[in-house]
């Protein structure tokens, strides 16, 4: 039963199939079918992305390793962006140095259905509307108005046949690319206003089929925008000057500098990113993360203003991103200086204040720490601790020490302490030298010849100099021995320290050697006056031996050029003014008329002159050589008393019995057989004085007798009797004042009237003069 049914079904199916095939064969033979194909427009380029690069970033594949790699930021209309949701953005600009050159754009090119060659027409313009197409209503797929092309002011590949070729059917969906840094117009591909406003550019692309004659453009364009980003450098903070504060400064919380070219340091802050603290970089755009390649070069500009005179100084430091800023000196345009209004503080410091600004700049953007602080330039003005004086040799320590607490002029009364040096007869001091011992808390004593501090570049510090003023007594008294009124002013040119100059020394010893004659060797460019004479006014006659009193004031300038005030000046502490004196010296030389020491010529004087001696007559000496001068080469006014032994015959074999006894032959006046001393030989009789018009010979002669009888014979000037001090002792010949105008030189002649009966022969006596400082020394200058 089943087989029959199966067989019948097969027969029916085959019959139907034969009938159907017969019908079809019949139709074909009767109708001709046709159709026509058309060339179609290319597709629209899509899926643009822009190159981003990062240095030493986490490897996306292997996050544990750091690599430099290229990645891209997508147009997020199509894909999720790797770095943010803002669409295409980057820090790279037209000429940035990515590993492969300038910034790259990639996209998927158009696909033509007919597989014709296609190029991409690319327009990039500063006007973002280029991308959105809103501004080109006249545009149709087959027309590219010039107004559109004109907007492609950065990249204009918007002309048919001048687009960017693609390879049709490429397996790489982003085979098309454009790389910046080839066109001059591309320099507009940059950051926005101030370097920190994102600058967005418009991009539009069309596919263009390079077929003839269709010349099709894709029906729709691709538009996108790309934004260039830049971050400001981190704002500096914590400005510090690197000089350590020395000594007792007023305010430890402030910044100080002793160098006019201070080393300045600062810290970086993450305040811009919300994190306070120091960063390892100066700028967020450090190249190591998306949208922050390439690394920016950061420059710091430091502006320092003197508070009293703004904009006095600009100091610029260029710190690129590899610098270690504490170690790199900065080049000053101008050093800090000391305004004239700078005052010495009560603590001995001079200070002037400066404010500051620091600007961090990456060429297009800046971040400023401005006027939020100030610092002080300071200098300790050295204190004169002590002055050592010597007149003995080159070692000041061997001389005297001006001890402040004994020689200070504020101590009343005469000098009784060690504040004195010894004058030398017939001269000024031969080897006067000083050591000015100063104390400087800054530990940086220096003078030009001994180099500057170990600071690079060498700071233009003013140099130390020591000035020593010596003043004669003046009626204005102490505190007047300023440089303006000093009788003698010296400048110490040699500096010794008790430590290394490079590390500084708190004690600076200035040595000063003064020649008795004017000499420029040791003291250049100063008011040279040689050594101070020892014969000037006596300050205190009651302090016997009354001698000259001098004042001394030493001062040392440091880098600020300021001086401490003298005694009584303000503010304290002032450098003290010292007083010192020469010791008293008695000295008087009997010399020939031409000021040759008698003892060095003949060792004798001729009594009665050099002519023949006539007995019982006055022999007064008539030649010039019969005059002998007694000059006071010490510093005390002297009484001079004279005596003579009896002349005795010294010629062997000729001497008779008769001797000349001065005492028994003495008769007051001219009539006796006397041995006189006189100051003139102008008349034949000693007691007759020359006429008033004469310039010499005012003294009445006196007769000399044997010791112990002495005769006072010395000048009298005004009411003061005595042989005064010879001011010009150092001159050759000495320029002492003669008796007519002063009394530093006493002319002597030796009239004799020998007794009758003396045998012919040579007679000698010994003349003695006693020098005694007068009790009340005059206060005149000589």
């Amino acid at each position: 039963m089943n087989k029959k049914i199966f067989l019948i079904s097969q027969i029916i199916f085959i019959s139907i199939l034969i009938i159907f095939l017969s019908i079809n064969v019949k139709s074909q033979t009767a109708v001709t079918g046709t159709f026509t194909t058309q060339n179609t427009r290319p597709g629209t380029p899509i899926d643009m992305m822009i190159q981003q690069h990062s240095l030493n970033s986490s490897d996306p594949v292997n996050p544990n390793s750091k690599i430099d790699f290229d990645h891209a930021d997508y147009d997020n209309l199509f894909q999720t962006n790797p770095d943010d949701t803002l669409g295409m953005d980057t820090h790279m600009v037209y000429n940035s140095s990515a590993p492969t050159g300038g910034t790259l754009l990639w996209w998927n090119a158009s696909v033509d259905p007919e597989s014709n060659a296609v190029e991409t027409l690319l327009c990039i313009g500063t006007d973002e509307s280029v991308g959105t197409g809103i501004a080109d209503p006249a545009f149709t797929p087959d027309s590219l108005p010039a107004t559109i092309a004109a907007r492609c002011d950065i990249v204009n590949k918007f002309v048919r046949g001048n687009g960017i070729a693609v390879t049709a059917g490429s397996s790489n969906p982003r085979a098309s690319k454009y790389q910046f840094a080839s066109l001059a117009s591309e320099n507009k591909f940059y950051y926005g206003l101030g370097g920190t406003t994102p600058n967005t550019f418009g991009i539009k692309m069309y596919g263009h089929e390079l077929s003839t004659p269709d010349d099709f453009i894709s029906l729709t364009g691709y538009f996108a925008s790309v934004t260039l980003l830049n971050s400001k450098p981190y704002r500096p903070y914590n400005f510090t000057t690197q000089d350590l504060v020395l000594g007792n400064m007023n305010n430890q919380n402030l910044n100080f500098t002793h160098s006019p070219v201070p080393i300045i340091a600062w810290n970086l802050t993450g305040i811009d990113t919300g994190t306070i603290g120091e960063h390892s970089d100066f700028d967020p755009d450090n190249g190591t993360w998306a949208d922050h390649f390439p690394r920016d070069v950061v420059t710091f500009r430091i502006k320092i203003n003197r508070t009293e005179s703004p904009d006095l100084s600009y100091l610029i430091a260029r710190k690129d991103d590899t610098m270690v800023y504490n170690d790199t000196p900065w080049t000053p345009i101008a050093a800090l200086d000391w305004p004239s209004s700078t005052k010495l503080g009560a603590d001995g410091y001079a200070m002037t204040n400066y404010s500051f600004e620091i600007e961090a700049r990456d060429y297009v953007a800046s971040n400023v720490l401005n006027n939020t602080g100030w610092f002080s330039l300071y200098d300790f003005i050295p204190i004169v601790k002590q002055v050592d004086m010597s007149d003995t040799d080159s070692d000041p320590g061997a001389g005297i020490t001006i001890v402040p607490h004994l020689c200070d002029t504020r101590i009343a009364g005469p000098i009784v302490g060690p504040c004195r040096i010894t004058a030398v007869r017939k001269d000024n001091v031969q080897k006067l030298n000083f050591t000015i011992v100063t104390f400087d808390k800054d530990n940086d004593c220096q003078v030009p010849s001994q180099g500057l501090l170990s600071h690079s570049p060498s700071p233009p510090l003013k140099n130390f100099s020591a000035t020593l003023n010596l003043c004669n007594y003046t009626t204005s008294g102490p505190a007047s021995c300023s440089s303006a009124s000093a009788s003698f002013m010296y400048k110490a040119s040699k500096l010794n320290t008790n430590g290394s100059l490079t590390t500084g020394a708190s004690e600076c010893n200035f040595t000063l050697f003064i020649s008795p004659i004017l000499d420029t060797a040791d003291q250049p460019n100063i008011n040279l006056k040689g050594t101070p004479p020892f014969y000037v006014r006596v300050a205190d006659p009651t302090n016997f031996p009354p001698t000259t009193e001098f004042f001394l004031w030493a001062n040392v300038t440091s880098h600020s050029g300021l001086l401490r005030p003298g005694t009584g000046g303000t503010p304290p502490p002032a450098n003290p003014e010292f007083k010192w004196q020469y010791s008293g010296v008695t000295a008087a030389d009997l010399e020939t008329r031409s000021y040759l020491l008698v003892g060095l010529v003949t060792n004798k004087i001729k009594l009665g002159g050099s002519g023949s001696i006539v007995l019982n007559s006055w022999n007064i000496g008539t030649t010039l050589d019969d005059e002998y001068n007694l000059s006071n080469y010490g510093n005390l006014v002297l009484d001079v008393r004279w005596s003579s032994t009896n002349p005795t015959c010294t010629t062997p074999g000729t001497c008779g019995v008769q001797q000349w006894d001065l005492a028994s032959s003495f008769i007051a006046g001219d009539t006796g057989n006397n041995l006189d001393i006189d100051d003139d030989n102008l008349v034949s009789t000693p007691s007759v004085e020359p006429p008033v018009s004469s310039t010499t010979g005012r003294l009445t002669p006196v007769e000399l007798l044997n010791l112990p009888t002495t005769a006072l014979f010395r000048p009298i000037t005004g009411s003061v009797a005595g042989l005064w001090r010879c001011v010009g002792a150092r001159a050759s010949p000495p320029t002492c004042i003669n008796p007519s105008t002063g009394a530093a030189v006493l002319s002597t002649f030796w009239p004799i009237r020998p007794i009758n009966g003396l045998s012919p022969g040579t007679y000698e006596s010994q003349i003695q003069y006693d020098l005694t400082p007068i009790a009340s020394q005059p206060t005149a200058l000589t």
């Binding site: 004195r420 009997l590 003892g599 060792n603 010490g634 005694t772 400082p773």
Partner: protein
Amino acid sequence: MKNILKIAFGIFLILLLIKSSFALVGVAITTPELQLVPGEQARWGIEIQTVGLQDPLLCTIDIHKTTPLEVTLDTPSPIRVPANERFPVYAAISVPKNTPNGKYTETFDVSCASLGETSGSGSSVKEKHSNLPIKYEVVSSFTRPNYTVPEKPKTPPAPEVVLAVIVVFAILLIIMFTYLRKQKPKKKR
């Protein structure tokens, strides 16, 4: 014998003074007024300046002793002073314990004679610095520091003194040795 030597030295000195003549020196009183506490010593000095002279001098310093001051020169007068020098002369000074407080002025003279040869004819000239002051104040205790004058250098004993001490010591040793030798035989017995 001793007196004869003294007289001979005096005659020699007188001869020197007579022979010598011109000696122009400067005398600087380098020590200012001193404070003295009775019974305590202080130092004092002057400077004899022979700058410019060619011959050494023999200088006599004569203290007048008009006050209680006792002056002991480090080098007894007369003192040989070299030529062309600034020659310091130092002394120890003191006042007796019973000296009343007060200010005093002692005086002294300095006269020098050249030790060089004289020449020429004529009268010689001698210079004397008279009545130079030594000012001092006798106090119970110091009210200020005195001017510093160098201390007298300690001179080694004269060679003859050293020799004498050695000889005496040697004699003593010999005596002791002799004594000990005499004592030994007694102990043995």
